[in-house]
C-alpha cells in the first residue's frame, strides 16, 4: 500500500525534507526511486547478522539506534503515536517508511487504538513494531496485556517516563512495574548499543515457534533516547529474514491456515462459557513460553545478565537500564576505595535470571539495587529470587524518580552505609532487607 514512486522530494512546513538525510541531487531531478536502497537490502540469517556481520561504529542517539535496528529488521507494519520522549523514534520510523524500509505505516488515533491495530497486524501474520512511553504505555496497557494471551509476536519499545500526577515528561521507569506482569518478554537497554541490538534480536526471539510472544524493549527515556552514544552497526544493506506467518504456535488469522473453525477449535475466545481451567492452563502456557525464550536469549544476547567484577566480590550492585550505567562508575569508585564490588546488569527481566542470581549472590555480603523509580520493583524481584540462597543484606535503593539523575556518590554511599551499618540518608530502613533493625523489633513488640 505504500504509494508508488515519488517523483518530488516532499518537505514539512519548515522546509525540511521528509527523509532525515538530505535528498541526493538525482532525487531532486525527479528520477531516483526513493525505495531503491531498501530494495537492494540483502536478507541474511539472524546468526550472521548478530554474530558475524562486520560492524561500524557511529555516535548516535537512542532514537536513531532504534531507527537503524528497524531498518535492518524487515518490518512490515509500524504504527505511530507521539509522546515525549518517544516521538522522535516513531518519526524516524516514518522516514524509513518513506524510504521503503518499512512497508506500511500510519499515525494512529491514540495508544489504545495503536496497540489494538498492532494486535490486528500481528494476527494477519506480518512483522509489527511500535513504541510508546509512560502515560501512553498505561493507556495502551489493556491491549498490550492481552497480546501474550493471544500469542501475538510483535516488538514494542518503551522509552520510560513519568506516569501519574503531577505531570512530568522526565525519565522514570515505573511503567515497567506494570509491564512485568503482562506475560510478555521484557528487555531493559542500558544504552544506545543495547537498544539497537535488543530490538533486532527481539523480533527473532518473539517469532520463534516455541515462544510466539510479544517482546517489550524498554529504555530510560531521554538518558538513552536523546543522548548520544557509540553504536556498532552492521551494514544497512543487510536485513533479517521476513516473518514466516505459518511458524507461530497458534495459526494466524488469514483464512489460509487450518483449522477453519479457529475460535471454536482453539480453546480461547469462549469467554463466559470457557471453563476456568482453560484460562488457567492457557496462562501457564504463556508463562512457560516466556521461560522457553531463555535459550534464545542465551544464544543471541549472550545471556540474561552481564557481569563485571563479580568473582570474589563482597558487594554486588544489581541494576538494569540506566541504573546499570551509573553502577559501572560506582564499581570503579568502590574498587578505588579498596571495596571489592561488582555489577550484575540484568538485561532480561522476563524471563527473570533467577538461577543466575542465586548462584552469583550466594557469597555476597551486601547487595545494593539502585533504581530510577519510586517503588523499587527490581529490588523486590531480586529479593524474591535469591531468598534462601544468599545471606546478603539487600538495600532496596537508592531510588530517584520524576526525572532526577542518580549521582554515582549516592550508590557509593549506600555501599559504605550497608557495609558499616551506618544509617542511610536516602534509603529507609524498611527498604533494607535481610537485616534486623532492633528499633523496629522493639516497636513491633510493644504494639502486639
Amino acid at each position: 500500500m505504500s504509494d508508488a514512486l515519488e517523483s518530488e522530494v516532499k518537505t514539512n512546513p519548515q522546509g525540511d525534507p521528509i527523509t532525515a538525510a538530505p535528498a541526493p541531487p538525482s532525487a531532486q531531478s525527479g528520477k531516483k526511486d526513493p525505495h531503491a536502497e531498501a530494495k537492494r537490502q540483502k536478507v541474511v540469517t539472524p546468526e550472521y547478522m548478530f554474530h558475524e556481520a562486520p560492524r561500524e561504529k557511529e555516535f548516535i542517539t537512542g532514537s536513531e539506534a532504534a531507527k537503524e535496528a528497524v531498518r535492518r529488521s524487515n518490518v512490515d507494519l509500524s504504527i505511530a503515536y507521539p509522546i515525549t520522549p518517544q516521538s522522535e523514534t516513531m518519526q524516524l520510523i516514518g522516514v524509513l517508511y518513506g524510504e521503503g524500509y518499512v512497508k506500511e505505516y500510519y499515525r494512529g488515533e491514540e495508544e489504545y487504538g495503536v496497540m489494538s491495530a498492532i494486535a490486528g497486524g500481528s494476527r494477519a501474520g506480518v512483522r509489527c513494531f511500535t513504541a510508546t512511553a509512560g502515560p501512553g504505555t498505561l493507556r495502551g496497557l489493556e491491549p498490550i496485556a492481552s497480546w501474550p494471551g493471544h500469542r501475538l509476536p510483535a516488538v514494542c519499545m518503551f522509552t520510560c517516563r513519568v506516569v501519574n500526577a503531577p505531570l512530568a515528561i522526565q525519565p522514570d521507569n515505573i511503567e515497567m512495574a506494570y509491564l512485568l506482569h503482562c506475560g510478555m518478554i521484557i528487555f531493559h537497554a542500558e544504552n544506545q548499543q543495547d537498544l539497537f541490538d535488543y530490538i533486532m534480536m527481539a523480533f527473532i526471539i518473539s517469532e520463534k515457534n516455541d515462544v510466539t510472544l510479544p517482546v517489550g524493549v524498554c529504555c530510560d527515556g531521554f538518558f538513552v533516547t536523546h543522548a548520544r552514544g557509540y553504536c556498532s552497526m552492521q551494514d544497512k544493506g543487510l536485513k533479517l529474514p521476513e516473518r514466516e506467518a505459518w511458524r507461530g504456535a497458534v495459526p494466524v488469522l488469514d483464512a489460509e491456515n487450518p483449522p477453519a473453525r479457529l475460535s471454536r477449535d482453539a480453546p480461547v475466545q469462549k469467554s463466559n462459557f470457557m471453563a476456568y481451567n482453560i484460562h488457567a492452563v492457557w496462562q501457564q502456557e504463556v508463562w512457560a513460553a516466556v521461560e522457553r525464550s531463555r535459550k534464545y536469549i542465551d544464544q543471541y544476547m549472550d545471556g540474561l545478565i552481564e557481569t563485571q567484577n563479580v568473582d570474589e566480590a563482597d558487594v554486588l550492585l544489581i541494576a538494569s537500564g540506566s541504573a546499570a550505567a551509573q553502577c559501572r562508575e560506582a564499581v570503579r569508585e568502590c574498587t578505588a576505595k579498596g571495596i571489592k564490588a561488582g555489577l550484575i546488569k540484568i538485561k532480561s527481566l522476563r524471563p527473570f535470571p533467577t538461577k543466575e542470581l542465586r548462584q552469583l549472590c550466594s557469597k555476597a555480603k551486601l547487595i545494593v539495587v539502585p533504581e530510577f523509580n519510586y517503588v523499587g520493583w527490581l529490588a523486590k524481584e531480586v529479593a524474591t529470587a535469591i531468598y534462601g540462597y544468599s545471606n546478603a543484606k539487600i538495600v532496596g535503593g537508592p531510588h530517584v524518580y520524576g526525572g532526577m539523575s542518580m549521582p554515582v556518590e549516592m550508590i557509593v554511599d549506600e555501599v559504605i552505609c550497608g557495609l558499616s551499618g551506618k544509617r542511610s540518608s536516602t534509603v529507609p530502613s524498611s527498604a533494607i532487607m535481610g537485616q534486623v533493625d532492633p528499633d523496629a523489633v522493639a516497636h513491633f513488640m510493644q504494639n502486639i
Binding site: 504504527i79 487504538g113 490486528g120 494477519a124 489460509e256 471454536r264 475466545q269 469467554s271 463466559n272
Partner: protein
C-alpha cells in the same frame, strides 16, 4: 481464494467429526449461497449460546449466509452478546478487548493487504452498540476517517445486553434502564450521520425481519469495503430479554421499530455505485443513458 484450508488431508476425511465433514462437503465455501436456499446447505453458524428468540442471533446468521466469500472472510468482534454467537461460526474470529474492534480490524486489514495484495480478504466487524458507539467510539470514527477498507456492522439492541441491561449511547431518550434510573437524558446517538461525515462509502440501516434485504446490504457493504473504503451497517437487533419482548413477538417488535425509527435507508458514494455497477454487475448502479443529451 484458498479452499485448501477447509479441505482434509487425503486419508483424514473419515476420522474427522461428522459436523466438520458436513461443513467441508455441504458448507458454503467456494459456492454462491443465498438466504432463499436455507436448508439446502450447512450454514457457517448453527449452534450458539444466545438467549432463545434473540433477534441478534438471527441477524448474525443471515449476515454470515450473505458474506460473498466466506472462505476468505475474517470477523472481528468484541465483548457483548454478539461474539458469543460469532465465535461459534466456521470462519476465523478475532476477539481482543472491549471496544478495540475497529483498531484491530485496521491492523488486520492492512496486514492482510501486505501479504495477499489484491486477493480478496474480507474483514467484517460486528459489535454491539455499546462496544461501537461508547467504548469503541474513537477507534470506530478514526477507522472511517482513515478510510480503512473493511465493513463495520453495529448490532444495535439499544442496550448493554451482555452486562445485564444498562443504558448505552444508542438507547432512546427517556428510556428507563439500569444506570438510567429516571430515563436516558440525551438522544440516541446519530452514528449514521457520523458515518457519512467520516466518509463511509456505504451506509445502511436494516432490521432482521427481511432476510433478503439483510443479505443485500451485507453483500454490498463487503464488496464496497473491499474495493472502495469503509462501509457501515446499523442493524436493529432487539434484546428480547432486557426489553422484555415475548419471544413470539420479536419479529413484530422489529416491524414496529422499523416503522418508528429504523426505516430502511441506504447511502452509496459515487465511487461505491461505480464499483458495484462496473465490477460486480449491479446494473442499477450503472450510469443511465443521458436522455437530455440525446435530444440536443
Amino acid at each position: 481464494m484458498s479452499l485448501n484450508y477447509v479441505e482434509f488431508t487425503p486419508g483424514f476425511d473419515r476420522w474427522m467429526p461428522k459436523e466438520y465433514r458436513d461443513m467441508v462437503h455441504h458448507g458454503p465455501f467456494g459456492k454462491k449461497t443465498s438466504v432463499s436456499q436455507v436448508g439446502t446447505f450447512k450454514e457457517i453458524l448453527e449452534e450458539h449460546p444466545m438467549c432463545a428468540g434473540c433477534a441478534m442471533t438471527l441477524f448474525i446468521r443471515l449476515a454470515m449466509i450473505a458474506f460473498p466469500n466466506p472462505e476468505d472472510t475474517i470477523t472481528v468482534g468484541t465483548a457483548g452478546c454478539g461474539r458469543l454467537a460469532i465465535s461459534q461460526a466456521a470462519i476465523p474470529f478475532v476477539y481482543g478487548n472491549y471496544g478495540d474492534q475497529n483498531g484491530v480490524a485496521s491492523g488486520l486489514t492492512r496486514g492482510l493487504k501486505l501479504r495477499f495484495g489484491d486477493k480478496p480478504k474480507d474483514v467484517v466487524v460486528m459489535a454491539g452498540d455499546g462496544g461501537m458507539a461508547d467504548i469503541g467510539f474513537a477507534q470506530t470514527l478514526h477507522s472511517w476517517f482513515r478510510k480503512e477498507k473493511f465493513t463495520t456492522i453495529m448490532l444495535d439492541n439499544e442496550v448493554y445486553g451482555n452486562t445485564g441491561g444498562q443504558e448505552s449511547g444508542m438507547t432512546n431518550k427517556g428510556q428507563v434502564l439500569k444506570m438510567a434510573p429516571v430515563g436516558k437524558k440525551f438522544e440516541k446517538m446519530d452514528m449514521l450521520g457520523m458515518a457519512k461525515v467520516a466518509g463511509c462509502a456505504y451506509v445502511a440501516t436494516v432490521v432482521p425481519n427481511n432476510p433478503r434485504r439483510v443479505e443485500s446490504v451485507i453483500k454490498k457493504a463487503v464488496l464496497i469495503a473491499r474495493e472502495v473504503g469503509p462501509t457501515y451497517i446499523q442493524a436493529y437487533t432487539s434484546c428480547n430479554i432486557e426489553y422484555a419482548i415475548p419471544t413470539d413477538k420479536v419479529m413484530e417488535d422489529a416491524k414496529d421499530v422499523e416503522n418508528d425509527r429504523y426505516k430502511f435507508s441506504e447511502y452509496l458514494s459515487d465511487d461505491a455505485r461505480q464499483c458495484l455497477g462496473e465490477l460486480y454487475g449491479y446494473k442499477e448502479y450503472l450510469p443511465k443513458p443521458e436522455k437530455t443529451l440525446a435530444k440536443s
